[in-house]
């Protein structure tokens, strides 16, 4: 079994081209991980996810621990086998979802007690139990258990939250069972406060992780504040370890974060938008529910290899959405995942050719031209 490794292959400004090696195979970075919350990338067969070029998917500790249960997944051979995804899997720690339960959870210094959103049953997550659950799921990359700092927060609230997360990061590290090819990522917190981000980075480096995530962004602070925070944070993270911006984002967010040295991304946007008739294209988002598509024989996006674009017209996609046919979300989800993977492929090629700044400028100009060309 291969060791868990990150190879930094090239840089272009702060942008990085790399390759991650995990127990279940490699991941070329910058990489976007489609979200497979409950053991399925919604509306996609796993083979179709792989066909888009995606090499790694994300699973959710919170959802899977409640249903079908981590022990059951382990008995059935682990999450890879359970969902038939033979490639690498990253699992979140459950912290983010549990925090968003609001009234259904009670936090203390040791962890969080919460009620299932399915049946109200009581459960508890601590750094130790989160590590155990992610081990049972057989995640190639385990995330440290943290508190996602709410936004907005006072600097005192953000500091207290970050310091709690750093104590939990240490406990996560201490209880994580090291296995060849498996890695543990720490999560940088501190809201939009550079001094807290720096303190968090020092704490994480003292502990030592296989990779470093930037958490607590894309929670309402806006793209500019996110980029400013990244500018202050990524230089503090070690160059020889992968960097993961959690829960981000729109294509322009991803491009901007890659320019600032981020290697990995996940977000529900492409899958969720696929279920609400929103398609991502190089020219911006297209709402297929709009009646202007009803007689349009053209593909959603010329040159896109996904079946929505390869085999169907905008008129047909519009018809599927209007008719509430399952094939609508299926095709648009596929397209959106393909669009994100095509973007990551293009970003990797641009970094390899040291033209990523020009690529980013061209992408922004193309999107600004509007979401549909005149006929």
């Amino acid at each position: 079994m291969t060791a868990f490794r990150f190879h930094l292959l090239a840089t272009d400004g702060a942008a990085r081209l790399g390759r991650l090696e995990t127990a279940h195979g490699p991941v070329d970075t910058p990489a976007f991980m489609p979200v497979g919350t409950a053991g399925t990338v919604k509306a996609m067969l796993p083979g179709s996810v792989a066909a888009t070029g995606a090499q790694m998917v994300l699973g959710n500790t919170y959802h899977l621990m409640l249903r079908p249960g981590a022990e059951r997944v382990a008995r059935l051979g682990g999450l890879h086998r359970f969902m038939n995804w033979p490639g690498p899997i990253l699992t979140d720690s459950g912290g983010f979802q549990v925090m968003s339960l609001a009234k259904l959870r009670k936090m203390d210094a040791d962890g969080v007690t919460f009620q299932s959103h399915h049946d109200g049953s009581r459960h508890r997550l601590t750094p130790e139990s989160s590590m155990e659950i992610q081990r049972l799921l057989d995640a190639d990359i385990t995330m440290a258990f943290d508190e996602c700092t709410p936004f907005p927060a006072t600097i005192d609230q953000a500091a207290a939250s970050m310091r709690l997360s750093m104590r939990w990061a240490l406990r996560s590290r201490e209880s994580f069972v090291q296995r060849p090819g498996y890695g543990l990522f720490g999560i940088n917190q501190g809201g939009v406060h550079p001094e807290l981000r720096a303190e968090s980075a020092r704490a994480l480096l003292d502990i030592g992780f296989d990779g470093y995530a930037v958490g607590g962004l894309a929670v309402g602070e806006g793209q500019e504040a996110m980029f400013t925070t990244l500018d202050a944070t990524t230089p503090l993270l070690p160059a020889d370890r992968p960097r993961y911006l959690m829960g981000v984002g729109r294509p322009s967010d991803i491009i901007g974060a890659v320019l600032r040295g981020i290697d990995m991304f996940d977000c529900v946007l492409p899958t969720r938008s696929g279920r609400t008739a929103q398609a991502f294209t190089r020219r911006g988002t297209v709402n297929l529910r709009n009646a202007r598509h009803q007689d349009d024989p053209r593909p959603l996006e010329e040159g896109c290899p996904c079946p929505a674009c390869r085999d169907h017209s905008r008129a047909y996609l519009h018809h599927l959405i209007r008719s509430e046919e399952i094939l609508g979300p299926m095709l648009l989800t596929w397209h959106n995942i393909q669009a994100y993977q095509s973007l990551m492929r293009d970003l990797r090629a641009a970094i390899a050719d040291t033209r990523v700044a020009a690529f980013a400028a061209e992408a922004a100009a193309t999107e600004a031209r509007g979401d549909i060309e005149p006929r």
Copy 2:
């Protein structure tokens, strides 16, 4: 362009092995046509439908005339291109759906006026307009416009209804535009009354069609009455034309009807059941929602080539259903369509080997052994 032809290749008792040639390709019979009501076989990419072995699908005049509209489909290149199904398509006449609208429709001797179930807008179907709509859709097989006789009905009601359908069959024939490779089917009616079925068969043969459907069955009369009616009816239909039993049915219905000389079938059961967690297997139907599957690592059906059986466990399928994940209906629909196509392939092989009676007996015995083998 090929002519519309039916080749009777072999018989085994009353069962028939044949091959239909249409403008958009051949169909091996006995054949089951997956239902693509609104221009999509629900929850399936067209390529996936073809991968199961299905050669022909059904489209619904009623649904397509209301949305997206037959003229729009024609402008977009016809139904084959619109839904990306390059193979043969049969369309129903709209009669069955319009009759089932109950209070929303008003029938007269000339046709039916009805209100759209979408927006209440008024529409009219006559034999002539049904032929025109099916021509605009570019159906390889057009069905004559008929009234589907309600069940139960008195013999007088059934006779009057059948005679109206025969007058409409003549008007359908007279307004159908003959084109090479395209065919028009007449529909035999008469409820469960052999003398009415015989009168209907004589009327249809006098008019002359490219194929003959048996309509008005599987509406509540039960399998025994359906088979009795087929026993009285199929011998009256010409041997050199295809015979289509509309809207049927469960696997045992299909096997029994093939034994009685039927060549073509359609039914929403495999697709609809796929969306309600019911899977068809050789051992009967399996309800994947049942908790007994939650720890079962075995495939739904050993040896089935569909992705649900090839790539996943019963435990995972159960999890998808419980979690209301779109992938559940996607996988079960695929399995059910595959199961029906595998049945038709096995029936064709059995007829070719003149062992169809033994095949039918074995299929019944296998189903009777129950829906799941002990572990």
